[in-house]
């Protein structure tokens, strides 16, 4: 197992180098000059040139890349053009809000997907199945900004149960943290939950048709135990894959949900970085997103082995 992990980590480093070159190149190729953007229509040519030089934009691209990647290796992601603050600070300050939202959204998604997917698989082509299919379609097709606004108008405006938006830190006030989290988490979780519902349905269906399920039933095992121990456990493997991808996606920020609910997450930050051509900030953010995806994927792969003993990463290991 450890040999596998080392191999995977090594591969990850190569992927990260590739990502860093790609991000760097794309950012610099995209039209739009960060300094002009910062200055707006005001400022003189002298100011413009002085600011360009200060930002190190006059060096050849290759030098700029190696300067950046060199300091990135030591944990220094540079200083944001736009805000003049270290990129590392800007990112870490938004991590708590992002992790809160991603974790809560994944919980919402699982609360939707597992019951709905299982129920519809247990009784295919029934009204329940039909309901699950239609609602997961709807969950996917309702735009999140519309859903977010509707939730705000209903639960904050009309009913007054929840705050309209904003973020309160978990350590500052746990109750307020949770109250502020509910609507964004539901909005972000519904789409993921809808995607996952379909996976749960098909993998539960598949597991139900397996010989071991028939055997378990034949030997008189209680239906609930069959479902818990034989069906759901085997159906979990594909769910972990999809759930992992969804989690990584949520962790890299859900821009629209963050904007609608004034949620200070990484997605909003990345959007501002793109708009203002804040190279250091965006490069740092994308690098972080790549790390998130790689780590989540690694954890997912390792989880397979835990969930399904037939899967093993030891070399030469037999089933």
């Amino acid at each position: 197992m450890s040999g596998y992990v080392v191999r995977r980590l090594f591969q990850s480093v190569i992927v990260l180098i590739g990502v860093s070159i790609l991000v760097f190149a794309i950012m610099h190729l995209v039209p739009g000059d960060p300094i002009r953007q910062a200055l707006g229509t005001r400022g003189t040519e002298e100011t413009y040139l002085a600011m360009r030089e200060r930002a190190g934009l006059d060096d050849p691209l290759v030098i700029q890349y190696f300067n950046w990647i060199g300091s990135a290796l030591t944990g220094d992601l540079g200083v944001s053009f736009r805000s003049g603050q270290p990129v590392m600070n800007l990112i870490t300050e938004r991590v708590p809000a992002t992790v809160s939202l991603a974790a809560a959204a994944i919980v919402v998604a699982l609360l939707i997907a597992i019951p709905l997917g299982t129920l519809s698989a247990l009784k295919p082509r029934s009204p329940m199945d039909w309901f699950a299919t239609v609602s997961s379609q709807a969950g996917l097709s309702i735009p999140d900004f519309w859903m977010g606004i509707m939730l705000i108008l209903l639960f904050a405006g009309t009913l007054g149960w929840l705050p309209s938006g904003g973020y309160v830190g978990l350590t500052d006030d746990p109750v307020e943290w949770a109250r502020h989290l509910i609507m964004p988490a539901v909005t972000a979780g519904v789409a993921s939950g809808s995607i996952m519902t379909r996976f749960v349905r098909s993998s539960v269906l598949e597991a139900l048709g397996q010989d071991y399920v028939r055997t378990a039933r034949a030997k008189g095992m209680r239906a609930r135990d069959v479902l818990t121990w034989h069906v759901l456990r085997n159906a979990l493997v594909p769910l972990v894959t999809v759930g992992g991808v969804q989690l990584a996606y949520l962790l890299s920020g859900v821009v629209i949900v963050e904007i609608v609910f004034a949620w200070p997450g990484l997605g909003q930050m990345a959007l501002i970085a793109v708009e203002s051509r804040d190279y250091p900030l965006l490069q740092g953010a994308v690098l972080l997103f790549a790390v998130i995806f790689l780590v989540v994927n690694l954890i997912v792969d390792l989880a397979y082995a835990k969930l399904d003993p037939r899967i093993s990463y030891e070399q030469g290991a037999a089933r």
Binding site: G32, A38, R42, G43, L90, K123, G165, R224
Partner: protein
């Protein structure tokens, strides 16, 4: 069958029900503190607390400040906060006239080249350091020496000296009547204490002289606390909490539910419905901002004045205002709005498609002439451009709207790679700011390539004319030529629209969009 029934009963519903119950409990928690008047400090949940003196004002702004170094930032959101933290030597009042602030009074030499500012002697920075002339020298020289964003405002400044701790002398290379605007028009030329750039991380920390002290900025907002020793008297409230809320529905719902007291996040189409809303007050003021369209005068056929005038006759400004601003703007054929001292009533271009067509044919422009109109994406300029597209279609000009992200837009503007563009100028106060760099043939913002020696001459004289009435006369003449030549095709001055909770006192909407909260009282 039986399996499912039991499963449903025992497993999943229980899980779901538990989750649901948890949600309801959370929703209920804290829901009952609404409307309970709590004094001051612990206003985490909403803006309902407060009443009378003191308390925390919660203000939702639509933008997110990039940083809090007043000399470095050019973001309006940053200045909304900094307006309450820093001071300048002079400050514009709501009418745009300059009043004393850190300077008590000032004199100008006969030749207009030497300005002497007497400073207040009772001002103390937030950290307790006394304010002196050295701080003024340090602040201005920081902007000039480091070529910072506002360095252009000091273009005519030759030397800044301290005659004594309470007197600053500014020597100019040429008379500059706009000097007060240059050094006090907004907080981009704020006074910071000597050495502040080394002692503090000005991007996130502040040491000003203003009515409030800057707290630790977070990604979701920043809180200011009252500065008790403010020279103009301690503020009427204890704190101002700025929240960044980008989505208007969220901001307006927060205002209606009492979570916030004040917001500037009001889409023009909402103004009317909001004015009928209970518990919400809407403040509207014409602004000094203006929207315009510029045709590239180095590209055929727009190098011909007739072709440009045809466009000016072809555009129905009122329609543009109705479409883009839902009426929350005032049409104007010059830059400066009515009610301003520098306003000049001049409007030669009534909407007249026939006149436009005549001018086009005399300029030799054929039916179906193409015109690429560059606008910044996701701004009200896009709707304005659509109205203009329809207007110009009627006179045979085929407009293609080119929506660009602002970075690309600025690049293309700087490179002259456009037929026409639309944009706005914000927050100008002195006519120099309105007209000079935009229309002087050597002006830094003359991207449209306007070159009229007579206008250059008038603008040059006006820039150094110290007699206010004579100066206005010069700008009026220049403005007429600029309008006649369609260097800019001026469209309208948008309104400043802000909304606040009913009963909020001591706040006024200003044409320059500066927001001051030091005299605000919270609703009972």
């Amino acid at each position: 069958m039986r399996a499912m029934a039991r499963f449903r009963r025992d497993g999943i519903w229980r899980l779901t029900a538990t989750a649901f119950a948890a949600v309801l409990v959370l929703a209920a928690c804290g829901g009952d503190d609404e409307g309970v008047p709590v004094d001051g400090d612990d206003a985490e949940n909403g803006a309902d607390e407060g009443g009378g003196q003191g308390g925390t004002l919660i203000a939702a702004i639509s933008g997110e400040p990039d940083q809090f170094d007043p000399h470095n930032t050019s973001a309006y959101a940053s200045f909304q906060v900094l307006e309450n933290v820093y001071d300048t030597l002079v400050v514009p009042d709501a009418e745009g006239e300059f009043q004393p602030s850190l300077a008590t009074d000032w004199t100008t030499s006969e030749d207009g080249l030497t300005w002497t500012f007497n400073l207040r002697d009772d001002v103390v920075f937030h950290d307790g350091k006394e304010f002196t002339a050295d701080d003024v020298l340090y602040s201005f020289n920081r902007i000039i020496d480091n070529e910072m964003a506002n360095a252009y405002r000091f273009a005519s400044v030759e030397e800044i000296t301290a005659e004594d701790p309470q007197t600053v002398v500014i020597t100019l290379s040429e008379p500059t009547p706009a000097l007060l605007d240059n050094i006090g028009g907004f907080k981009g030329t704020a006074i910071i204490p000597e050495g502040a750039a080394d002692d503090l991380d000005l991007a996130t920390e502040a040491n000003g002289t203003g009515p409030f002290e800057l707290g630790d900025p977070a990604a979701s907002g920043v809180t200011l606390t009252a500065y008790e020793d403010y020279f103009d008297g301690a503020p009427s409230i204890d704190e101002v909490e700025f929240r960044y809320i980008g989505e208007a529905t969220t901001a307006l719902t927060s205002l209606e539910t009492g979570e916030i007291h004040w917001t500037d996040n009001i889409p023009p189409q909402q103004v009317e419905s909001l004015q009928g809303e209970d518990g919400v007050e809407v403040g509207v003021s014409p602004s000094v901002d203006y929207w315009y369209l510029a045709l590239n005068q180095e590209v055929e056929p727009w190098d011909q004045v007739e072709a440009r005038q045809a466009v000016a006759y072809g555009v129905d400004r009122q329609q543009v205002v109705d479409v883009a601003q839902f009426g929350a703007a005032t049409v104007n054929q010059t830059a400066i709005p009515e009610d301003n001292f520098w306003y000049h009533d001049y409007a030669p271009f009534d909407h007249d498609p026939d006149q436009a067509a005549d001018l086009l044919s005399s300029a030799g422009v054929e039916e179906g002439q193409e015109l690429g109109l560059m606008v910044v994406q996701d701004t009200e300029g896009v709707q304005a451009a659509q109205a203009i597209e329809a207007n110009l279609g009627d006179i045979g000009i085929d407009v293609t709207i080119e929506q660009e992200p602002d970075g690309t837009w600025l690049d293309r503007q700087a490179e002259g790679d456009f037929d026409a563009f639309m944009w706005s100028w914000l927050g100008n106060l002195d006519p120099f700011g309105f007209y000079h760099a935009q229309h002087h043939s050597e002006g830094g913002f003359n991207a449209q390539g306007y070159d009229n020696p007579e206008v250059d001459d008038l603008l040059g004289q006006a820039a150094t004319e110290t007699d206010q009435d004579a100066r206005k006369g010069l700008y009026d003449q220049a403005a007429e030529m600029i309008v006649d030549d369609v260097s800019y095709l001026y469209l309208y001055n948008p309104d400043v629209v802000q909304a606040w909770a009913d009963g909020l006192g001591g706040y006024e909407v200003r044409p320059d969009r500066a927001i001051n909260f030091e005299n605000v009282t919270l609703p009972e």
